[in-house]
């Protein structure tokens, strides 16, 4: 499946990345080359093979429902680029 420049532009929005025109051109070429390489997977017969999402077969891992102390608010906000001592701040989401 050949990847096009317009695919790359669409994916850049999905991934919340921004590229200049020349970056988009270069990236399209690089990704096309990698995708072409990866496309060889389609040649491997996999009928009846279960997908393997985890490296180990572990199931049913739970912890019990007990409240533990949360972070103090100043700690929770400490790494925020912008906050007002009670909440994280972002530019207006509406409008």
């Amino acid at each position: 499946m050949a990847i096009t420049r317009s695919d790359v532009e669409k994916v850049s929005l999905l991934a919340r990345l921004q590229f200049s025109d020349s970056e988009l051109d270069r990236l399209t070429g690089e990704l096309a080359q990698i995708v072409e390489y990866v496309d060889h997977l389609s040649e491997v017969p996999t009928e009846g093979i279960e997908p393997m999402a985890h490296a180990v077969e572990v199931h049913n891992v739970f912890v019990s429902d007990e409240v533990m102390p949360s972070l103090p608010r100043d700690k929770a906000l400490a790494n925020a680029p912008r906050h007002n001592d009670r909440a994280f701040l972002v530019p207006p989401v509406l409008g």
Partner: protein, 516 residues
């Protein structure tokens, strides 16, 4: 200085014995490594930050407690360097990324907590490829790390700083992480021992994720005995990591010296195909001959799907990475773009589109929030990270999931089944770590695909979840180290370490030192 150099050239196990006997103070040992860093790291660039004051304070505390016969941890007084990808409470963890340049985790990763509990001296944080993506440590946002054996060459990666600091005697032990070979490959290229444990053997809690189903933390050291010591300190079940294995941790450092009698070693037919450097191939064959002389039987085996391992890896790892790195959006932590500038830029774009009456362009114009995300992320991440995020986002997007991600998960199972099959006939699989010895810095930066192919021999272990170790097995004509990789079935780290140790006892590659 000469007493210093003999001290820092001795093994961590020997240093620990001196410390325990009271013949060596941790402050002395720590200072010796700090001196080594001061004189060598300007050339090597292994450390992003050296925690001098904290290290000396920790060392003094250990010495004091030892003098008053207080109980001490397993590594009491031994310096350990940590890859800058494991959270250490209230100190900076950057993952060698601008994105996290100022990030301070409010908690300890389990591995760091275990090191602290073992009274290890946390001497500094080592350089790496940004978010562990790369095989040369050239993708660090902050600095280049050089191979101590040839400063023009790369140390490998992504744990390049972790391998280089041990190779150059700037730390006796270090912690790395391995997602596709990131411990074993730099260990091989720097001539040290590096072990990637079974997936789930070491907790990933507090390890900043690259590809969650592949990432493992592991030790780098001068010898397999030292690696055993560090592994038994950091391994074990962790309730905070659902994928961690609830299995007892063997006393690796006790059993490591027992040779494997009559061990059956498999040589993978597919490993000796085109592309493998002849000097590397012969070093590996020589190493296998050493095993034979020690009573091992050698058998050729096949891993028929191994040729698809890199393709499988470069679907699964970027898919998981694209998701794991989505959280770096400049809202709750990490880099955020200059908002005023961003708003100005958007306003100017809107004006231009309005002037041109470009309705389509206007309807597509980012909202201020979307633009904040896009700019923050594009400024915070380097080229390789962005490339992989793009690749993973593409492979998971509507219409491509089955062809790429799902297909890769199925091939992954076939790769694992190949190993299960092989380990019915052999106890260990031996082979090269990389096809070539250390490459020149800058040689592959413009060719991502060739860079990816460097992982050819290492990624299968991550896909299958099995443990692997890299150990020095020779040098090429240019004096660059060659690594031997041993692979074992899940949870057989003990077998790997014993196998590595018996080889070390019969050879002296691990005793060579680079001249810096």
């Amino acid at each position: 200085m000469s007493s210093h150099s003999s001290l820092i050239e001795s093994s961590a196990t020997a240093q620990l014995e001196l410390l325990m006997r009271g013949d060596l103070f941790s402050v002395e040992l720590t200072q010796a490594y700090l001196d080594s860093i001061a004189s060598r790291d300007a050339n090597v660039g292994a450390f992003l930050r050296v925690e001098k004051d904290r290290a000396l304070a920790q060392a003094a505390s250990v010495d004091k407690r030892r003098q008053s016969n207080k109980p001490l941890g397993k590594l009491a007084g031994l310096p350990v360097a940590v890859k800058d990808v494991l959270c250490d409470q209230d100190t900076i963890t950057t993952c060698a990324s601008r994105m996290l340049e100022n990030f301070r985790a409010p908690y300890d990763s389990t591995v760091v907590a275990k090191l602290k509990a073992a009274d290890a001296i946390l001497i500094g944080r080592t350089n790496m490829d940004e978010f562990a993506m790369g095989g040369s440590t050239e993708n660090s946002a902050f600095q280049i790390t050089r191979n101590p054996w040839d400063l023009e060459r790369a140390p490998g990666g992504s744990s390049g700083g972790a391998a280089a600091c041990v190779a150059a005697d700037m730390a006796p032990l270090s912690i790395g992480t391995d997602t596709g070979g990131s411990i074993r490959q730099p260990a091989g290229l720097c001539g040290v021992v590096g072990l990637k444990p079974t997936y789930g053997r070491v907790s990933r809690f507090g390890l900043v994720a690259f590809a969650s189903s592949l990432d493992q933390v592991g030790p780098l050291a001068r010898t397999s005995q030292d690696a055993a010591l560090l592994l038994e300190t950091i391994a074990g079940h962790d309730l905070r990591d659902a994928t961690s294995l609830d299995r007892p941790v063997p006393a690796y450092s006790q059993s490591v010296a027992e040779p494997l009698a009559g061990v059956r070693i498999g040589l993978v037919r597919e490993h000796f195909a085109e592309g493998l450097d002849s000097e590397v191939a012969s070093a590996v064959r020589d190493a296998v001959a050493v095993y034979e002389s020690l009573g091992a039987t050698v058998k050729e085996i096949s891993l028929p799907h191994s040729k698809h391992a890199v393709a499988t890896y470069y679907v699964i790892a970027p898919c998981e990475a694209s998701s794991n790195l989505a959280r770096y959006d400049g809202v709750h932590y990490g880099h955020r773009t200059d908002e005023a500038e961003m708003l100005e830029e958007l306003a100017a774009e809107r004006k231009a589109l309005e002037a041109a009456k470009d309705e389509v362009g206007l309807s597509r114009l980012d909202s201020s929030l979307v633009r904040m995300y896009r700019k923050s992320r594009s400024e915070g991440f380097g080229a390789e990270v962005k490339r992989r995020i793009m690749l993973g986002t593409y492979a998971l997007s509507a219409g491509y999931y089955d062809a790429y991600y799902l297909k890769a998960l199925k091939v992954r199972r076939l790769i694992r089944q190949d190993f299960d099959e092989a380990f019915r006939e052999v106890d260990l699989i031996a082979g090269p770590v990389t096809a070539q010895t250390a490459f020149k810095i800058g040689e592959m930066v413009d060719d991502p695909l060739s860079m990816y192919l460097v992982d050819l021999y290492t990624v299968s272990a991550n896909l299958a979840g099995i443990p692997g170790i890299s150990l020095p097995c020779g040098f090429d004509k240019s004096g660059l180290p060659i690594g031997l990789q041993l692979l074992a079935p899940p949870l057989e780290e003990e077998r790997l370490l014993r196998g590595a140790h018996m080889y070390e006892q019969a050879t002296d590659w691990h005793q060579r030192r680079p001249e810096i």
